[in-house]
């Protein structure tokens, strides 16, 4: 790397580091919902990407609404949109659990197929409602552009926003799943349904709300995603494999594992992309994941369980 001044290299290094962290926060936000649904409940939700798209479309809808009727509210709508996205996706998740998933808890591979069917239906619904074109909400000014700590360093504002959002959601999930009374019930239910029933936990209710929570978080991820990319009917399918890889690689039931896995995948990919072409970077990253999973099938941070 000759021909570059050291301050140039330092700032590139800093920005490259942030690119990795930014990818990390995106992956983590996508994976959190799935970590709950797949990791805690054992449901393979192939429609997870579509629940993200629901969040993204909700944001788009809110943006259009605000632009048309309350233009003065534009700088603030985005925060509200995230909350609405959470509830809309969550509500749809609640309904999906009620209609489909609850009949399939004993057949995990079948949840995969049924949710795939669900994802097709959702995709067509997006197309019928919003059209085949990709859409992008108009973002508030404060989300555009970059923060310049020095002359040469630009830190994207949307990346910082997603990072912040991811931190909040992660802490929220941690509190909810591991510190709250409700999280205890969820974990009890997933570990021993019969026993949980016996000690008076309404396991059906727990299932439904857990699934809804996972979908709701997917909705938040979708909303956040509109700051980075556009949304189309098939957007969800683009992310589903990456999302599953993060969760599986981290060891399905471990929140810390999901975080570590998102971090290592993001850094690996972002660094590889800097040195080799994009396509091959993706191939190498995925290949490495598959190889590692072959040697450690239970993922990075699965705890040893006495069976």
């Amino acid at each position: 790397m000759d021909g570059y001044t050291s301050s140039e290299l330092v700032s590139i290094f800093a920005m490259q580091g942030f690119a990795g962290i930014s990818l990390f926060s995106v992956l983590l936000l996508m994976a959190l919902g799935l970590a709950i649904i797949f990791g805690q409940m054992g449901v393979i939700n192939m429609a997870h990407g579509e629940f993200m798209a629901v969040g993204a479309y909700t944001t788009y809808f809110m943006a259009t609404l605000t632009e048309t009727y309350f233009p003065a509210f534009m700088p603030y709508y985005f925060v509200l949109a995230i909350v609405v996205a959470f509830f809309v996706s969550g509500l749809l998740g609640y309904l999906a659990e009620f209609a489909l998933i609850r009949h399939l808890y004993k057949r995990p591979l079948d949840t995969l197929l049924a949710t795939w069917g669900l994802s097709l239906i959702m995709q067509q619904s997006f197309r019928s409602l919003f059209g085949a074109r990709e859409v992008s909400p108009t973002l508030p000014e404060w989300l555009l552009g970059s923060y310049q700590p020095t002359e040469m360093i630009d830190i994207p504002l949307n990346g910082m926003f997603v990072l912040g959002l991811t931190t909040i959601v992660t802490l929220g999930v941690y509190y909810l799943m591991f510190k709250s009374r409700w999280g205890l019930r969820v974990r009890a239910t997933t570990q021993n349904r019969v026993m949980s029933d016996a000690v008076g936990i309404n396991t059906k209710k727990v299932d439904r709300y857990t699934f809804a929570l996972g979908c709701g978080i997917a909705g938040i991820a979708g909303a956040a995603f509109t700051t980075i990319a556009s949304t189309g009917p098939t957007t969800g399918t683009l992310y589903i494999v990456d999302t599953f890889m993060v969760v599986v690689f981290g060891g399905a039931a471990s929140l810390f594992g999901t975080i570590a896995s998102a971090f290592s995948i993001a850094q690996a990919q972002s660094i590889l992309e800097f040195f080799i072409s994009g396509s091959m970077a993706k191939v190498y990253t995925l290949l490495a994941l598959v190889l590692i999973l072959m040697f450690k099938p239970e993922g990075l941070f699965a705890s040893k369980v006495r069976r």
Binding site: E8, A19, T64, S128, A132, E134, S136, T138, G145, S279
Partner: protein
Amino acid sequence: MRKTSTSRLPSIMRRRFVKGLMALPAAILLSNMSLSVSAAEVNTTGLAVTDDTVTVGILHSLTGTMAISETGAQEAEKLAIKQINDMGGILGRQIEIIQEDGASDWPTFAEKSKKLLVKDKVAAVFGAWTSASRKAVLPVFEKENGLLYYPTFYEGLEQSKNVIYTGQEATQQILDGLNWVAKEKEAKTFYLIGSDYIWPRTSMKIARKHIENVLGGKVVGEEYKPLGNTQFGSVINKIRLKKPDVIYAAVVGGSNVAWFKQLKAAGITSKKQTLLTISVTEDEVLGIGGENLEGFYSIMKYFQSQDNENNKAFVKAFKEMWGEDSVIGDVTQAAYLGPWLWKAAVERAGSFDVDKVVAESEKGDIELTTAPEGYVKLHKNHHLWSKARVGQWKKDGQATVVYTSELIEPDPFPAGYQ
């Protein structure tokens, strides 16, 4: 299947332009056009031609990832056909449309094109968008001796008897734009970035040869991202490190949106950086958002803002038929030319027979003076003579044309660029 309207906008918005549809001008029948020639005379090969109708096919993706891009093209084709019908049709026959959905899936394109040619016996097909779909249908058209009007600007390196290419081949689009940026912006160093498939790669190959051999410039980076990729952080940092005079981009589809949003977020805007792209038309801007593109340049043969009478009439008619909110990009305009070029060739041949229509087209003197982009002429090699234009994007999603070339001869197999 027959389809009268496409749903590409939220239904709340759609209601508005249904009214526009109703208000379409009544059919203007030019009676002198309806020559009374029997079907047997104008059709010796068993095409779907009756004494008062002729059937054509439209084959674009209505579903799947490509539906986004192909919507405009099929709308323009339907507009042209409607206008031709209102003028009395072709050889006194009204054009009927059979539309098939390619579903963004190449094998489906092949299957449907075969159906259109073998079962429906259509006289011509307007359709295909991606290179891959064209490659998939090409053997079918050659085998069944069909006629395809293909609207997309593409990589060249092809010339089939059975295809008329109404978009630009790569050299037409690329070379003049590069000359312009080298001269106007005194650009010496270029960073090439594209999606990873044949069109960007071939275009970049031509661009690189032109930059290195003709302009005496330097390519400081060349990068391809998988289709659908939405992460450009690392590439943007590489670009920052190389500090090119010009970023030369051919990113497509959903990636395009991510690419420009992230450029803007990284503080790379037109204030500091010249960016020239060959993959952004008004259609793409709709998704990317004008604010993310403001000040960057596209090279195309057509921009919606072009100021001439043909274009004003076209834009007005298009909006009347498809809604006030619709935008028109380069491919949409090229698709619009297809039915008109076919009409001209059929009328000169006095027949719908594919061989005769192709023979007329290959004479190299079919011209359209009414094309929205301006004057175009069909070359012997099945491509169009056309101009290259550089447009600078504005916040409202429209471009200002800042440069227009001379009429460029199409050269699908450019010597020195292969």
